[in-house]
Symmetry: C2
Subunit: 222 residues, 2 copies
């Protein structure tokens, strides 16, 4: 049985989002909750990646998920099937979440005893990159069908992320996608970005990703 | 030899975008120029579709293209290879174009003798849907790898478009994409939307699309 709340997020009244984000991070540190902000284009495989990430980690740490969307609850339905706590956030047409909106989501979710809270942000490579949500780490997914030129076109997103998952590598042969060029372009923008090619559908690369995430959570909540 | 200008677009100072958009459409009617606003997620195949659309129509009508991006000029390079007039618009981080920004682009492009001006909007399913650019028709591309649930998650985009091109049908068998469900979801939001499945890469469906576009241009400029 899937069961989750739908929360209508209110627009922020705060002008200084960076300050709100820093305060939220401090609050999360005190509560021993790690917040991951997961971003990508529409349809890059965020929800499938997330589902398999949860299945790999849920017996080791307590996970809660916030699914942010303009509309619908299809992702919350999918994630709730894993058995973890999930809330669907509706942004009322807004194209991103900032720190105060994320805080509303965390309060709606309830993070007592949650080690890892994951925000699945709105599918958009532009606006979410501009707003610090208060997350401890930012991760993004770029899928092979989207093309290897995306770091050139959406540089800020690649610059602010700690991890880049290159998804759908199982269909690489059907697309003109030069993974070396893609990696080179991302590293030029952000030399410290960790890049992991994955197939969320078939599991390739997911162990490296979930190991990294698990270790980051441990460092934060210890 | 590719050659094109890069124009840094200024943020609008007008509060009433709908009024600006209507005025721009009237101006275009007077000048006998049809403006198409082409939207989609990043990496859905806008530029490839556009390139093949131009090759199919450029001997029959005069075409000019505005490539809008946050950064880079990769799309303008690709389009300029077709020989049509092209300008690269940089939005300075902005996630969409409104009517006044589009007007700046048209002035930069120069539309004397242009029958069909095409705006390749920022790759984003959220923000561009909220702003009337002054276009005569709106078209969007959804590509098969993005998934058949996108009308549920980005309803406004599907509601405001006159045409939906479902691209990358050549890779349909490698993805869980139910085209009938996708069409049903789009038609529920927008019963009048024209839906054409295409493969921009291999040409399927492009004749139906370019015929439709050619006829709309003729109706507008006659």
């Amino acid at each position: 049985m899937s069961s989750f709340k739908i929360l209508e997020i209110k627009k922020s009244i705060f002008e200084n989002n960076d300050k709100q984000a820093d305060e939220l991070r401090q609050e999360l540190k005190g509560k021993k909750t790690f917040l991951l902000n997961l971003m990508s284009s529409p349809g890059s495989g965020k929800t499938t990646t997330l589902k398999n990430t949860i299945l790999a980690l849920k017996d080791k740490i307590n996970i809660g998920v916030m699914e942010a969307d303009i509309d619908s609850a299809v992702d919350a339905v999918t994630i709730s099937e894993t058995g973890v706590k999930v809330i669907q956030l509706h942004t009322g047409g807004m194209c991103h979440l900032d720190a105060s909106m994320t805080k509303q989501g965390l309060e709606g979710l309830g993070i007592e005893n949650i080690d890892l809270a994951i925000l699945e942000n709105i599918g958009n490579l532009v606006c979410p990159a501009e707003f610090d949500t208060g997350a401890v780490k930012n991760a993004m997914i770029l899928s092979v069908p989207e093309g290897d030129d995306k770091p050139l076109k959406y540089p800020l997103m690649f610059t602010i992320c700690d991890v880049l998952l290159i998804n759908k590598i199982d269909v690489m042969e059907y697309f003109d996608f030069d993974i070396n060029k893609c990696i080179e372009r991302a590293k030029k923008l952000n030399p410290n970005i960790k890049i992991i090619p994955i197939s969320a559908k078939f599991g390739d690369g997911l162990e490296e990703w979930t190991n990294w995430l698990y270790q980051e959570v441990q460092k934060w909540i210890k």
